[in-house]
Amino acid sequence: MQARPDTIEDTIALLSAQNYVCGRDLGTVAYLALTLGKPLFLEGEAGVGKTEIAKALASALGRRLIRLQCYEGLDAASAIYEWNFAAQMVAIRTAEATGSVDRDTLQAELFSDAYLIRRPLLEALEPQDGGPPVLLIDEVDRTDEPFEAFLLEALSDYQVTIPEFGTVKAAEAPIVVLTSNRTREVHDALKRRCLYHWVDYPDFERELEILRKRVPEATEALTSEIVAFVHGLRGQDLFKSPGVAESIDWARCLVALDAVALSPALITDTLGALLKYQDDIARIAGAETTRLLDEARRGLMDAE
């Protein structure tokens, strides 16, 4: 188990060792989340690395990653806990057959730890090997509002109340990361209990660094061309601008095609890795590609 980082620089270095490159802003927020034991609430466009940071934190600190993927209709039974009804029935039948057990003992046995099915939220509160786990609550904006109320109790006191059983409280607070794509506004009451951070597209230098770490097999020249081109694309009026995840995918595509430099034909063929809407592809393919590529190259020349 890796010790908790002591400074902001340590946090950034720790994440960087996991191939997660983050700016000083995100580093500061991550450090605070670890030090203050507050949940981290990340919002931003799709594909800017919100989910990745939880994975990087877990593997950097040697903790277990518990993931709760949210969806519409997610209820307490599949997020927190559930009683193992079938096993309880078997226990009752057995007790009936032997006819030996008295009522109170049976009751205590049926609603004991052994018959409790733990779902991610409860699991995260239990002690784990290697220290408290990293709990990733992904795309919290997809759940219904009532579910946020469950989260409030779980995240503010790190405890869950089970009526038949009592209150389960975490001995040591887990590291919680919530992400949202902002398809709806998550309630302020939840956000206020968290450290809020808006994850933006990275700037040129940082994206270059990310690509170098993630796709080391690409040549240096290709990497800078890719980043320059993607940055040019983000300035265009697109339905969905490509995120970092897309530029990594695209770099891998180009490496698989043994490319050493970009060309308009190559870009048009592989544009599907970068843009996911037909309208956007139609806009960019063709003459626009050539123009953007020229612009990107000119930008690189100026920088040198």
Binding site: T7, I8, R24, D25, T28, V29, Y31, L32, T35, L36, K38, F41, E43, G73, E82, F85, A86, M89, R182, R184, E185, D188, K191, R192, R193, C194, L195, Y196, H197, W198, D237
Partner: protein, 410 residues
Amino acid sequence: MTPAVDHDAEGRLVENILHFTHALRKAGVKVGTAQVETAIRAVAEAGFSKRIDFYHILRATLITRAEHLEVFHQVFAMFWRDPDFLTSLMHMLSPQLESEPERRKPDAGQRRAEEALSGAQQHKDHPQRDEMERQAILTWSGREVIRRKDFDQMSAAELAEAERAVRALDLPVKPIRTRRTRPDRYGARPDPRATLRAARRRAGEIERIERKAARTRHPDLVALCDISGSMSVYSRMLLRYMHAVTHAHDRGWGHVHAFTFGTSLTNVTRALRQNDPDLALATVGREASDWEGGTRIGAALARFNREWSRRVLTSGAVVILITDGLERDDLDLLDREAARLSRSAGRLIWLNPLLRWEGFAPLAGGVRTLLSHVDSFHACHSLDSLQALSDAFGQRGLRDRMLAEVRTGL
């Protein structure tokens, strides 16, 4: 790396953070006491050797919404510019700055930040405004004039007003009842599937009969906003309103689409989706190129019908048409296109913000033509506040009375 701070200095820091949160609140950012406490703890815990760390710490703890990031940035920049911020405040408000030869264009959110730091300092009203207004209203023509527009920045009070108005808005539209259902403990219909699903988890034991109810859905909203010369005074407010509607996630609209039209049609939906209202309005001002030009309502509607209606008018969308209805061009075209729009929209609502007097009679050809195609017609006599706009939608529609007047007039 935590710097050794003596007790006195720490006390002053806490005090300054408190002042800073007050300034944020004045700029329209809601900050809770628990958040301030977290901020102070975080600063004490992390310590900071760089100003930028301090900035990030305060931002992470005090801000909970993306649209407040820009305001935070501005307030921070002004508040912590130098420790003796009152002096700098005096400097900021001194007349020398006003007469600086070259005034930098203010960043988005700056006005709100300035207001917050200068107390209830009133901004000077522009005296030319009345005159401009008169000119703009009296002249309308079909000439195409390419103009870009720069909007005044929002004040915190204006923003609060916009939010209030959007919340108070009561359009004559009900939520759509769909054929789909949702689980509901006290719903009208039994849900056999859910009952069996629950039973299967309990080894076939049925605990209770699950129930369901019909799901309702909020209709999409499409706003078509006239930005020609005669409407120009109001365009800023209308766009502000649309921005507020776009961002009112809890207000119960599905998707919100916004278009502006004068001599051509521009889709400004994406521009309005930007978090900060100032940035959004600035982008709209750049994107639409026909500010304060003439009006070709018929042609604009034709383009909308051809290029956009099939994409945005699906599943009973509500269309709000905001225009004075003063059409220069072809009335037949307007008639045809308005009819088509009326048929493809779930509901077509016309808001005329330029109804100047009570005894308005629908004499202009364009007004008459449009009237016969809309589902409801609303008007306000002046559009100086968003409240007036909300009130106009709340009143009973004027369409039937106006149509009757048209008929008797014939």
